[in-house]
């Protein structure tokens, strides 16, 4: 790396909150961050986006929970987690003590669940903001995927925005499994979302040809990894074109700095790296460096200059 490459200003923001790096973990792909400590300087990354937390501890689904697919994987975890009490008692203090920024993903089955979680996270040290997971495919009915319905999605987002700490931006995490993602994006933005996280996994299925039954205990699962990158990039592109002032946290199959650059050029002002961390636990730091070098090589003095560049 040359001195020129390191001179790119990589700082960006999650809505109103500045962050020194545009590269974050992705919810559900780095637990609560601590396992990455041997591999990544967690204080240098944009933020740890936590695994989605719910009001109560959740066991998650029975195994098998994953199936490898071409350039990706299906998961059927089912939001295993310690619940908000465990998060507040164990995980967030661990991050805060080390000066690691946390972007907390919240999930629930009712609008009131989301609002209560937002309320519980008001003013918690180190919590930059909230990512509202209205799009996890691993729930018992599609009716629980709020992000598939603009009205249901708006109800959740407006309740969270009303309950959340005003200093904490609220990002709505959208599902690609919709006919019109721009319509959902517009609805949640009108409902008060400060930003959009795009995309969650796509609903998928693998059948074992030997047993002739679905591989996953949960039957269907969420598809992630580089296989979904073009879908994710298309979603970011469409939404940025329609809503150019809405901040986007882009994600979906980012594995390299050049992958991240595509999301930035399409309109993302920050990116999350998810499944690639399973392959390379150092991925978050590596992708930051690769993105900085790629921006420098293209003559950008700052990351923010490149956001949405492909539309101009």
């Amino acid at each position: 790396m040359t001195a020129v490459e390191t001179r790119v200003d990589m700082s960006t923001s999650l809505a109103s909150v500045p962050i020194p790096s545009p590269v974050l973990t992705a919810s559900g792909c780095s637990a609560f961050g601590r396992e990455l400590e041997p591999f990544v300087d967690l204080t240098a990354i944009g933020a740890v986006v936590t695994k989605s937390v719910q009001l109560r501890p959740r066991s998650g689904r029975p195994t098998p929970r994953m199936a490898e697919t071409p350039s990706g994987m299906l998961n059927s975890i089912g939001l295993q987690g310690p619940g908000i009490d465990g998060l507040l008692a164990e995980e967030l203090p661990w991050l805060a003590e080390r000066g690691v920024r946390a972007f907390v993903s919240i999930a629930g089955t009712r609008v009131e669940d989301f609002a209560e979680l937002a309320e519980r996270l008001r003013g918690v040290p180190g919590v930059l903001g909230l990512e509202v997971n209205i799009s996890c495919p691993n729930v018992e009915s599609r009716g629980e995927v709020f992000a598939c319905d603009p009205v249901a999605a708006s109800d959740v987002v407006s309740a969270v925005r009303a309950a959340a700490d005003p200093a904490q931006p609220v990002y709505a995490k959208l599902s690609p499994d919709v006919t019109d993602i721009v319509g959902v994006a517009r609805a949640v933005t009108d409902a008060g979302a400060d930003g959009l996280s795009m995309i969650n996994t796509l609903l998928g299925l693998v059948i074992d040809p030997d047993t002739m039954r679905p591989v996953l205990g949960g039957v269907t699962g969420g598809l992630s990894g580089p296989a979904i990158r073009p879908v994710a990039l298309r979603c970011v592109w469409q939404v940025h074109a329609a809503l150019p002032d809405v901040p986007i946290l882009g994600m979906g199959g980012i594995r390299t700095g050049l992958d991240a650059l595509q999301f930035v050029l399409a309109g993302a002002s920050a990116v999350s790296v998810g499944t690639a961390v399973f392959n390379d636990p150092s991925a978050i730091g590596r992708i930051h460096e690769e993105l900085a070098a790629a921006l420098a090589a293209r003559g950008f003095g700052s990351l923010t200059d490149a956001v949405g560049y492909a539309h101009r």
Partner: protein, 293 residues
Amino acid sequence: MSGLLTRPAPRAARPPVQRVAEVTGRRPLNAYVELTLASPEIAERAEPGQFVAFAIGADTSALLLRRSIAIAGASGGVVTVVVAPHGPGSTWLAALRPGDTVDVVGPLGRPFPMPEPGTPSLLVGGGYGAAALVGLAERLRMTGSPVTAVAGAASADRLCSVDELGAVADDVVVTTDDGSAGRRGWVSEPAAELIGTAGVVYACGPMGMLRAVGELATAAGVPSYVAVEESMACGIGVCMTCVLPVIGEDGRTRFARSCAEGPVFGGDRVRFADVGTLPHDVVGADAMGVLPA
């Protein structure tokens, strides 16, 4: 108080590293391939029972998930693993040649807890799982424990590490399902005969074998530690795919990660009969809508 014979295995003393390691040796071992890798930092940190996780292919590989394999030996700056080729990932690993490089993370997982010095120990390995017991056997001998080993497999070509165990153990009993080597039958038969002399049992192998060995040890009042071979996407504790229902120190069952809380679990703590199901008394099952019958 849980009333169980084992305590949960403690964490390893040192964190893992990620390195690109050169393959320094490759040796076909019947149905398996033994690879040696130059990785001084992993070798010096490794403890018996831990594993390493390999990236498959180059950095544009379409196979994204790591393959986790038990450490069969770690000394002199070199880590040894035994690869059982069955899918595309393990087949790629088994085809590595000396001079090739591979991205490896380790050592990972919790080591086998050591008994009081001098405790007679029974080691039971199934298939390539026996490889994970070689380093343990050496350490047990160093601390004065008499070691008896049972190594079994479906057939003679699927036995593993018999010579290595034989070099360390006081006695090695070999079994095969088809009688092509050693005693015909399962490892659980000699294990049941030998349990009376053991103060602790260690096992690594397929889940059914671990269940049988764990149950017979517990029935005999002997603590047992089993190293499971669950498939893992990451190996480092972030993906949550490799969970098993395991009874914790507080007596409550949780879905515990085989990579981070395991791979070594108390044999009386893994609820083998419930693997692949969601029992109502797993912590957080109520939030999934699973209630007592």
